[in-house]
Amino acid sequence: MNDWFRIPSDLQNSYLGLIGLHLREAVIPVLVGLVVALPIAQLCVRLRWLYPPVLWVTTVLYAIPSLAFFVVLIDYTGQTETTVMIPLGVYSLVVFVPAIVDGVRSVPQETLDAATAMGLGPVRRYLQVQLPIAVPAIIAGLRVATVSSISLVSVGMLIGNQGALGNLLNDGQIYHQPRLIWLSVITTAVLAIVVDAVLVGVRLLLTPWMPRGTRKARPAEDRPEPAELVLEDAAR
């Protein structure tokens, strides 16, 4: 059984080490993306005309293949994790910006009026009312972004062993070991499903105020479940 999880020595890492590396490369860019998206989304809420162009820019950025990003970035950040993480962070914006904008806009007008009339200034109103009420929408975005990031990290193998679990795919091809390919694909998928489940748990903890029957009835509703996406990506 242990043979299953044996990792070729050229990767200079254990199985668990690769998982840790994979998680780090997937999660850090998403969190940075979230922090960057919050002010951008707030600007889009305040200045309505800004939203369509911002959406257009994030979509165009998302359309740039990661390989193209690597080619440009490699001159500046070298063959490092950073080179892998920058495109992942940029990609997450295409999910976060609309998720946060929709979430903040979903706050009922009378709730906002009540907050204004009670003497909450714009900053308090944002932090104490709009943002907390947008949490379900933001976490829905976080689920999609994280899961797709987990599957995308593997491309990092293209710039020399920076793909964490993705490097196993490469090794499997070089050494003709299907075991390594299976190990990579299954581990990535399981990782995505587990992280997604954790995020669902986080949302339940953060939103005791949501009616139970409709906890799922949020903007993410008609998108495919994030876990399905990663399986599709992994299958490619």
Binding site: E110, D113, A114, A117, M118, G119, G121, I133, W209
Partner: protein
């Protein structure tokens, strides 16, 4: 006092929401702004707490221009209640109510204690404190909205159609509750509604606004009903203006007759003794003095009245407390044409005929008219 002085609100597209409006809103009473949609009543209310700034004119609170103090300080000194309550759905009931005290720097415990006290005051069960808004009914949410507005004990309360989204039964309960609260607290309340009946029930003074934001009439409700300023106000007041005005006349002056009342176990002598020429019916009460129904004297059996044979007695009015409207209603409802007056516990204190109620109405009108003239 809130003084609205020649205020106009004009929007960039040229629409005039409020046109040269001047109102002196008296302290410690309920002033209702009422009118059809588009009459600028909500705009006017929102100019008082500066959620909207007037294009012309000025608003002052106790003599000081409201633009002279920081806007959020002004708003925290004015409670605001809104349609659908506008509660913070992510906060518990107690935290919703404690919002303004917390912002004013109260400690968490003190703010929560105050919130709990207010819940009792507006008639909310303390068990609801830890619930979230979605777990409450519309009427309960609206009570939370009122409690939240009162939390920091502001001298002024602004209410924007607070009860229009709840069903009529709940609405009546909330209105009665507001009147009771106001008796205890004595706030300066500005209340916006499109419902003229609500305006007449709640208002100490009523400002009727017409479309285009012009003031049509500013008067106490009784005067509004007796002397509408023009056809618009008269039309807005609707039908039954005369009947509704009776709500403002007390039934205290009615001449109640006690002779035609007998208990259910009366003897033949008692029935004969109570039967007089001027009252064609006898009112039968139970042994406790509560009304059972009317009967013709001849149809009564001594000692054991058949209660199933009695005629309906309509809806009794509380003598001295209810208005002439209630007395007239009772008289009209009963097939005998007589209304039954009861005391606070429901015991009969006397009966009165439609004719006598009509007499009382005529003399009340005469007194009211001369009174209005003296005041005017």
């Amino acid at each position: 006092m809130i003084r609205i002085d020649s205020v106009t609100k004009r929007y960039p597209d040229g629409t005039v929401a409020v046109d040269q409006l001047s109102l002196d809103i008296p302290d410690r009473s309920i002033t209702v702004l009422v009118g059809p949609s588009g009459c600028g009543k909500t705009t006017t209310l929102r100019m008082i707490n500066r959620m909207i700034d007037p294009s012309e004119g000025a608003i002052s609170l106790d003599g000081a221009d409201i633009t002279k103090q920081p806007v959020n300080t002004l708003r925290r000194s004015m409670g605001y209640v809104i349609q659908n309550a506008g509660l913070f759905q992510h906060r518990t009931i107690v935290d919703n109510i404690a919002t303004v005290p917390r912002m004013l720097g109260w400690g968490k415990e003190k703010a929560r204690a105050r919130a709990t006290e207010l819940m009792a005051r507006v008639g909310l069960d303390a068990a609801l404190a830890k619930r979230y808004p979605y777990q409450l009914s519309g009427g309960q949410q609206q009570r939370v909205g009122v409690a939240r507005a009162l939390a920091a004990d502001p001298p002024v309360l602004l209410m924007d159609e607070p009860f229009s989204a709840v069903d009529p039964v709940v609405r009546k309960g909330l209105q009665d509750e507001l009147l009771r609260l106001q008796e205890e607290l004595g706030k300066t309340i500005v209340f916006v509604t499109h419902d003229i009946d609500e305006a007449i029930k709640l208002g100490t003074m009523v400002a009727v606004l017409r479309t285009g934001g012009k003031l049509a009439q500013f008067a106490p409700p009784a005067e509004l009903l007796s002397d509408p300023a023009d056809a618009f106000v008269e039309d807005f007041l609707g039908a039954d203006r005369g009947i509704r005005r009776l709500s403002f006349f007390s039934s205290a002056g009615l001449d109640l007759k006690t002779s035609p009342i007998i208990a259910v176990d009366s003897t033949a002598e008692q029935i004969a003794e109570r039967t007089t020429a001027d009252v064609p019916y006898l009112l039968v009460t139970d042994l406790d003095g509560k009304p059972l129904g009317w009967s013709e004297p001849g149809a009564l059996t001594a000692g054991a009245v058949d209660t199933a044979q009695l005629l309906a007695y309509g809806r009794p009015f509380e003598a001295g407390k209810d208005s002439l409207r209630a007395a007239l209603d009772g008289a009209v409802l009963s097939p005998t044409g007589w209304a039954v007056g009861v005391d606070g516990t429901g015991r009969v204190v006397g009966v009165v005929s439609q004719g006598a109620v009509g007499e009382a109405i005529r003399s009340a009108h005469a007194a009211g008219r001369s009174g209005a003239k003296v005041a005017g």
